[in-house]
């Protein structure tokens, strides 16, 4: 099997006295899409926040390609090749596609003191990226994000992660509030990213979306990982649902009555 890209070891997280993560060990391999599932409060968001630098863990360590790293901020995570894409928060809606793609790393041209952005390069690369991520519609790269649909916004965020060589792209509920066609588009973007060598963690409430795209499913319940090697090709949605809720068929039937 391929080597671990990211390995989180014995991660524990307390919010005050509430334990959100209990000694969790979690890994993502190279070129792998991992589906992270779990009910509300299972700890998947906290796990992702620790990995993306949004919250510090109480104990435990993170390794990238076998080397221990310190991730204390979102900037640290990005510097280590970990990019997190939240539903809407990752883009500046007033700015154009090209300006968002290069935000923070704008290429400049001409004498340094003029600090002039290389608009031509930005627009050209942005156009290429949109095609690479799988957008077929011809959208000018000067379009502000506010004029894009939810799916197109996800595409821009994924394209940005791909361009800046993020090894691991974390997608938190990327298909929320999206229509059928848009969802299919986003799932395609994720597959394209994997085929180009990026690993992904895919979090979604809709298990069917997860099944369509991931290589491996990890299930969390009450702050621990209860299953970490479910093959979506050999397992049914219903079986995974059981693992998520932790109930037998009879218990589930009793609970839903």
């Amino acid at each position: 099997m391929t080597q671990d890209l990211v390995r989180m070891e014995n991660i524990t997280k307390f919010y005050g006295r509430v334990q959100a993560l209990d000694n969790v060990t979690f890994n993502v391999k190279e070129k792998e899409i991992v589906g992270l599932l779990g009910d509300n409060g299972a700890g998947k968001s906290t796990l992702i926040k620790v990995l993306s630098g949004a919250v510090p863990s109480s104990s435990g360590s993170i390794h990238i390609r076998g080397k221990k790293v310190d991730i204390n901020s979102t900037t640290d995570a990005i510097a280590n090749g970990i990019e997190t894409i939240y539903q809407d928060s990752a883009l500046v809606t007033q700015l154009s596609i090209a300006r968002n793609l290069f935000l923070g790393r704008e290429p400049v041209t001409g004498p340094g003191i003029l600090n002039r952005m290389d608009h031509a390069k930005m627009n050209q690369v942005a156009g290429d990226l949109l095609r690479r991520v799988g957008i077929t519609k011809n959208i000018p790269t000067t379009t502000p994000i506010s004029a894009l649909s939810g799916g197109e916004r996800q595409a821009v965020a994924i394209a940005r992660a791909m361009y800046f060589d993020s090894d691991l792209i974390i997608l938190d509920e990327p298909t929320n509030n999206l229509g059928v066609a848009e969802t299919r588009g986003v799932l395609n973007f994720v597959r394209n990213a994997r085929d180009r060598g990026h690993s992904c963690i895919f979090i979604a409430h809709n298990i069917h979306h997860v099944f369509q795209v991931v290589d491996r499913i990890v299930v969390m319940r009450q702050g621990t990982i209860v299953a970490d090697d479910i093959d979506p090709k050999k397992t049914s949605v219903e079986e995974v649902e059981l693992v998520i809720t932790g109930m037998s068929d009879e218990e589930l039937a009793a609970a839903t009555v």
Binding site: S89, L91, V92, T93, F102, G104, R105, E106, P144
Partner: protein, 328 residues
């Protein structure tokens, strides 16, 4: 077809509404009183316009980054007092007193910026407090009396800042040149540079911007310092021109400046800013002030018109913004 879409794109620009309004003002005032477009009146209008305009230009950048500064009027009054006191007391030559006043103003902006970016206090509260501190200091050090400035006439600095020259029938001041220069530079910064992209991102979505490595705090801090320094420059220019450094001058300017900026199409909450719009906004308010007096409306009615303009323009800008958000 092409033609139509071009026209439509022009209309959708945030600067279009203010541009039309300015044209309407000029046409209406001129048709009622042809003197409105006389060289003398244009010259007079320009003089004071550009002094407030300098502050409005800097405020545009600050507001695009999502903050604003209510202390600019106080700094406008305070900085000339500092400069002329240092000079009149023989503590510093005029050039150094000028630099010292600008640095002190930048420092005031720096403190406001620290409160906003480090302590996360809204800029409304921070700069309101700063307004009182600065104005209070100006009144305290002067006992409320204006400072002498009349020995400024033979200083080269005064000539460079506000020296007048006659271009044909127009009497223009150097301050107009500075206004144009600053407008061009700020337009360039906001729309063409990496820093400009950071300014817009800091106002539009600070969380996303800092996740991308944009130093949002430092960006805002620089703009607070810039805004305050520009208010100082405007105040000093005004003090030389009127030969008086009055500790009370500039009272209420902060609101007029913010009105100029938002009328031009810059968003109050940040993320979207336009220097061209601000230049138009500056002229809309100053032309209105000059025009209604010229056509015989009592000057006291000025605020009614200004208020109506603000309301009308906001309705327009927010309507455009909503259409923009809807992607049409």
């Amino acid at each position: 077809m092409e033609q139509q879409s071009l026209a439509r794109r022009l209309i959708a620009k945030p600067e279009f509404g203010p541009f039309v309004l300015l044209l309407v003002e000029i046409v209406v005032f001129t048709s009622i009183n042809p003197n409105f477009l006389s060289p003398l009146n244009i010259s007079n209008t320009l003089v004071f316009t550009v002094e407030l305009g300098l502050i409005a230009l800097a405020m545009t950048l600050l507001m695009t980054a999502g903050e604003f500064d209510l202390s600019v009027g106080a700094v406008f009054g305070f900085s000339p007092v500092v400069m002329w006191t240092l000079f009149n007391q023989g503590i510093l030559p005029l050039e150094l007193a000028f630099v010292a006043a600008l640095l002190l103003a930048a420092f005031i902006g720096f403190i406001s910026g620290l409160f906003v970016t480090r302590l996360k206090i809204p800029s409304f509260l921070v700069t309101l407090g700063m307004l009182l501190v600065v104005r209070g200091t100006a009144l305290f050090v002067t006992d409320g009396f204006p400072q002498r400035t009349w020995n400024a006439g033979d200083q080269w600095l005064a000539t460079v800042l506000v020296g007048d020259l006659n271009v044909g029938p127009f009497r223009l001041y150097m301050s107009l040149f500075w206004f144009i220069l600053v407008a061009v530079i700020f337009w360039y910064i906001l729309s063409q540079t990496k820093f400009g992209n950071w300014i817009q991102a800091s106002g539009g979505n600070p969380g996303a911007a800092s996740a991308r490595g944009v130093n949002v705090g430092r960006t805002k801090l620089i703009l607070f310092m810039l805004c305050s320094a520009m208010a100082a420059l405007a105040g000093i220019i005004s003090s030389i021109r009127t030969s008086a450094a009055n500790p009370n001058s500039g009272t209420g300017y902060e609101l007029e400046v913010i009105a100029m900026v938002v009328i031009g199409g810059t968003a109050l909450m940040g993320g979207r800013g336009t220097i061209i719009g601000t230049v138009l906004g500056v002229f809309i308010l100053r032309v209105m002030r000059n025009g209604i007096v010229l056509i015989g409306v009592p000057g006291l009615a000025y605020n009614i018109f200004i208020g109506a303009i603000i309301l009308g323009m906001m309705a327009l800008h927010y309507g455009l913004e909503r259409r923009h958000q809807a992607g049409t």
